[in-house]
Symmetry: C2
Subunit: 373 residues, 2 copies
């Protein structure tokens, strides 16, 4: 199946997309959007690193949203990007003076794309400035911070969405529909892996910035996938952390984390994540009638394969999503802008991020590590 975003939106307009996932699931999913009315939602991007670039290109491709402000510690870089996206120089802020954006009516929302340890501070300051908040995952570096972020946004009466972009991505939604819809029969267990061989000097390897090892940055994809696939919340966790390479990269964070978790229904998941190996993201779901696999948690190239016994005989699927980056970011920002316009809660609110923080804390705890407190 090759489906473009345009086609997917059309399915949405026909009411098909809204019906992709049965009602009564643990998570809500994006409803088909009504035609966009009124001015675009203006976003201020806080932190101009790599993921911010994907986000801004996504906004450029969106009909609902626009970049109206930047926060950066590098004025020159910010001015170059401002010129590219048509942001007035007066809407470029430093980390020190960004609270002034309260007066900037062109900024409706912020996108927090900073290292993990700064998510809480800038989410809370943005909320206090009256701005809606889209924050990258992991939500924070502690459960306490995550709760404070939710409370601050509630108090300021602004929406908080965590940027779980795959919740809005067609291959992921298709997998969820197949699994929860019973195509595989009763699911028994799942496996998932996601990791990469990180280079020395990256901020992810500095616990003061990242809050932890690969579990927070890439393992979170496995954890979150197991949850959205089952629609259940995991009840038990057990895992290990290890560091093999003594090359200076892993002075403050661990290299590997592997864990098993069990859901209330009895469904099990075995997962692994690393900063020390080539580990293309994937999950495989095993059910009584067959299995389903999705390869890649990245920005493009997701591929769904499956083999199961259908009502009318054996089914074999091999579906590559040919959408290109930054399409996932278009979908994500469209969803948040729609929520801002209508006042509805995002499908991946702060509470979704908080749950993953709590579960990652449980995984660490099972490995004998006190973390994310």
């Amino acid at each position: 199946m090759r489906i473009s975003r345009r086609e997917f939106s059309r399915l949405g307009a026909l009411g098909v997309a809204a019906g992709l996932v049965p009602r009564g699931m643990a998570h809500g999913w994006a409803q088909a959007a009504a035609p966009w009315a009124g001015p675009k939602v203006g976003y201020c991007v806080i932190g101009l690193g790599r993921i911010a670039d994907h986000f801004m290109r996504g906004v450029k491709g969106s009909s609902t949203s626009t970049i109206t402000g930047l926060v950066s510690g590098h004025r020159e870089k910010a001015e170059r990007i401002a010129a590219e996206y048509g942001v007035p120089r007066s809407s470029i802020y430093s980390y020190e003076d960004m609270d002034r954006m309260r007066e900037n009516k062109a900024i409706d929302a912020v996108y927090v794309a900073l290292p993990n340890s700064m998510h809480a501070e800038y989410t809370i300051r943005s909320a206090k400035a009256g701005k809606q908040v889209l924050c990258e995952k992991p939500m924070s570096t502690s459960v306490k911070d995550a709760k404070a972020m939710i409370a601050a946004c509630e108090q300021a009466k602004v929406l908080l969405m965590i940027a779980y972009r795959l919740h809005y991505e067609p291959t992921t939604r298709r997998a969820i529909k197949l699994v929860r819809g019973g195509a595989l029969g009763q699911v028994q267990s799942m496996v998932s892996a996601n990791g990469f061989n990180e280079s020395a000097g990256e901020w992810r390897l500095d616990k003061a910035l990242s809050g932890g090892g690969p579990l927070l940055d890439v393992g979170i994809y496995c954890l979150n996938a197991m949850r959205y696939l089952t629609g259940e919340e995991p009840a038990k966790f057990s895992g290990y952390v290890s560091t093999i390479d003594k090359d200076g990269r892993f002075a403050t964070v661990e290299e590997n984390t592997s864990w098993v978790m069990q859901f209330p229904s009895g469904i099990q998941a075995s997962c692994t994540t690393t900063y020390g190996a080539q580990m293309p993201g994937f999950y495989r779901v095993y059910g009584a009638k067959g299995w389903l696999q999705v390869d890649e948690f990245g920005y493009e190239g997701l591929r769904l394969t499956a083999e199961y016994r259908g009502d009318a005989g054996p089914v074999k699927l091999d579906e590559l999503n040919t959408e290109k980056d930054p399409e996932q970011f278009v979908r994500q920002v469209d969803h948040f802008s729609e929520c801002i316009r209508t006042g509805r809660t995002p499908d991946t609110p702060g509470e979704e991020g908080l749950r993953d923080m709590e579960y990652m804390q449980d995984i660490y705890r099972s490995a004998g590590v006190v973390a994310l407190v």
Copy 2:
């Protein structure tokens, strides 16, 4: 790479096969066999179920071995098979009178292909009858029995080999060579799954015969693979057991087992096994330079895929082993017959089976289950 057994044997004769795995590994591996001399080794098959059929067809295809006796509770079935394999009627035994095979000089060895709970008794009786013992895996249904089997064979001065047929299979040996030889760089972690949707009424679902759930029958492949790939013995285990289907199949054994284990080097493995889902066997190994996957633990169709950074650039492998069943059984029986001829210890002796029994007990214990004691 498509390599026939003939070609593989030729590599062996050239001394290549013997060098497949670096010296000093935890396990020894089959040396290249010298040309077969003298009469074939005569095997008595104890238990005439499905796997015995594969074994006997393997012996038929072997130049080293022959079927010279049968033990069965079904005289008619035994006579039919005896006629097919040229076994004299006088060499057909019942379970009650099989000890008489002591006097049968045509029987050098036995192949124990009974339900797991009977492995110990028939291994020990065969040893006492002076016969070399090839026993199916899992070795037994308790650590105590496994130790008694090893002791009985030592006392009787007969060899004991556990039928880990993949240790003798070319794709498996190729994977081991790549992983241990450093093609992937430092290995960080692995994932593995193996299971199937078992039918009601099968002996595997009766704990009195099987000793436990899918871990013993199919999960053991994941456990053993993680050991032969790393050449290390796992040091820590943590897992869960669960039963989801309430359809009467799982009255005495659990439906699912998932676990994580860690090796002394820090390498981790995340595994799952089931009797309730379609779960084609596979493992994937993640290293600093790339990954390697083997699909299928079955009797044929093993496929190795890999992507890694080689010395001369990127390497991409996709190698299907086109050998057909019962070729794996030919290789296995050839190895044991060679050991019998030369008196050397098999590559998968009783101690190999005992280790898996102890580790499976550890996995159960971590899940709060006292088993295999």
